[in-house]
């Protein structure tokens, strides 16, 4: 592995924004393909997600890592556009109505961007109608919904039901701390991801199964 990529992965893991920026610039300077740089970012972030899940680090550490990754991605985006790597799939993402907790949603959005999805981020507290409108407008193959509270899980269920009622041709994946595979099965969601790293795998599976 190229040294700057190793440094990049490490700087994401520790949330060191300046180092991440310098390492990204060095990698770009050395003509490393942008996809490889993205992979280095994602592998750092996947490690952050794993350590969070294992209770080794806490929310602020995840947030600074995410910010470091964002800094690098901002440098990469123009390169990706220039190299003609067009995202093949579009995902509409948001937290469900009544839920303002967006840390997990933001991580998933970033990981999906890193995996070359076009991400339409509707933000927080998004009513079902607004989700449906965006999915139709962007022809999104995938809809990703997040809820952190058990109080907002019914809103997630309603959003999924509404998408089904209207026969919108999109796959739905859900996540958030209280969400489980059983809940996804119960409400008729197509996929469930336990964390941001596995969200990418689930997203890829869902769009390729179409």
């Amino acid at each position: 592995m190229i040294a700057s990529l190793q440094i990049l992965t490490e700087s994401i893991k520790t949330g060191k924004r300046k180092e991440a920026k310098a390492a990204t610039e060095a990698a770009i300077e050395a003509n490393v393909p942008p996809e490889e740089i993205l992979n280095a970012l994602s592998s750092g972030m996947a490690d952050v997600g794993r350590r969070f899940k294992a209770n080794e680090i806490f929310v602020p550490e995840v947030l600074v890592a995410a910010r470091a990754m964002q800094t690098s991605m901002a440098l990469l985006e123009p390169l990706l556009v220039k190299s003609g790597i067009e995202p093949e799939h579009t995902v509409v993402i948001g937290t469900v109505e009544g839920d303002l907790h967006d840390i997990g949603k933001n991580l998933v959005a970033m990981m999906l961007k890193g995996a070359n999805f076009k991400v339409v981020d509707l933000g927080t507290n998004v009513p079902a109608d607004k989700i449906i409108e965006a999915v139709q407008q962007h022809n999104a193959q995938l809809t990703a919904l997040s809820a952190l509270l058990t109080t907002t899980m019914p809103a997630m269920q309603q959003a999924v039901e509404k998408i089904h009622e209207k026969n919108i041709p999109t796959k739905i994946m859900i996540g958030g701390a209280p969400i489980t595979q059983e809940f996804a099965n119960d409400i008729g969601a197509d996929g469930y991801a336990a964390d941001a790293a596995s969200a990418v795998d689930v997203a890829r599976q869902l769009v390729s199964a179409r």
Binding site: K16, N55, G98, T124, T150, E182
Partner: protein, 255 residues
């Protein structure tokens, strides 16, 4: 010989310690000739709901450990679903009883409807209660100080990173705009604490009148079906997708 009319053990979140202690001292609740209405009590650390799997395994471990204690046949769980950490909990030889609630805030507010209405009116409400305030986990100046010290020890060579981490924690609450204090113990000190946090964060302050009835009913055995779930031996707690929130199924029929 134990002369209690009804013997039970109780597993409770430490966030409830003020409320439970105050209720347990009431005459209508403690009908035993001892200081407390329970045969056995265990407090679990507050905040375990952040990692629902940890909450589940700690509660389950206590239930399993109490299985062989023949001095009581019922275990009360002073918990709501708490991030779904109570989902999947199995009874063994004892009956489990728990409120049909999202979390401690539902229980302190007295009804599911009250909790859901407040959140619907303003999803940016952050709830404070004496327990959470005692734990110094609520957003505000103490939390910031605590985090700064914690991260300064963890990352002693990187003060910039420590600043970033403290700022990131504040950012994590940036969508909230109201500190709502829920009280059933008339704790003026805790209320003032919450007011200060609201002022520090630039949030509105709101005082919500709590209701001790639900916790009292848990301890006195007035377990109406709409407010409590009874989990018979050999069953487990499962989530529903309607307003009952939780139900029980035999362990061998687990999905």
């Amino acid at each position: 010989m134990n002369s209690r009319p009804q013997n039970f053990g109780i597993i409770a979140c430490d966030a409830f310690s003020d409320e439970l202690s105050s209720i347990a001292a009431k005459k209508n609740v403690n009908k035993t000739n001892t200081d407390t209405p329970w045969s056995r009590l265990a407090w679990l650390e507050m905040g375990l709901h952040d990692h629902p799997e940890s909450l589940r395994s700690e509660v389950q471990a206590l239930i399993d450990a109490w299985n062989s204690d023949s001095s009581f046949s019922t275990i009360l769980l002073a918990y709501g679903m708490c991030g779904n950490g109570l989902i999947g909990i199995k009874s063994r030889s004892k009956t489990l009883v728990l409120p049909r609630a999202h979390d401690c805030i539902t229980i302190l507010l007295g009804s599911l409807e009250a909790h859901e209405t407040i959140l619907k009116e303003n999803p940016g409400t952050y709830f404070y209660s004496p327990g959470w305030i005692r734990g110094r986990r609520t957003p505000g100046p103490d939390r910031e100080r605590h985090l700064r010290n914690f991260y300064a020890q963890r990352y002693p060579d990187d003060p910039d990173l420590v600043d970033d981490l403290v700022e990131a924690d504040l950012m994590a609450f940036s969508h909230h705009n109201c500190a709502a204090y829920v009280d059933i113990t008339n704790n003026q000190e805790a209320e003032n604490y919450c007011r200060n946090c609201a002022a520090y964060l630039g949030w509105k302050f709101r005082k919500l009148q709590g209701n001790s009835r639900w916790l009292e009913q848990l301890l006195t055995g007035e377990w109406s079906k709409d407010k409590f779930l009874l989990v018979p031996p050999g069953h487990l707690i499962q989530r529903t997708t309607n307003e009952t929130l939780i139900e029980t199924i035999p362990c061998n029929e687990m999905r």
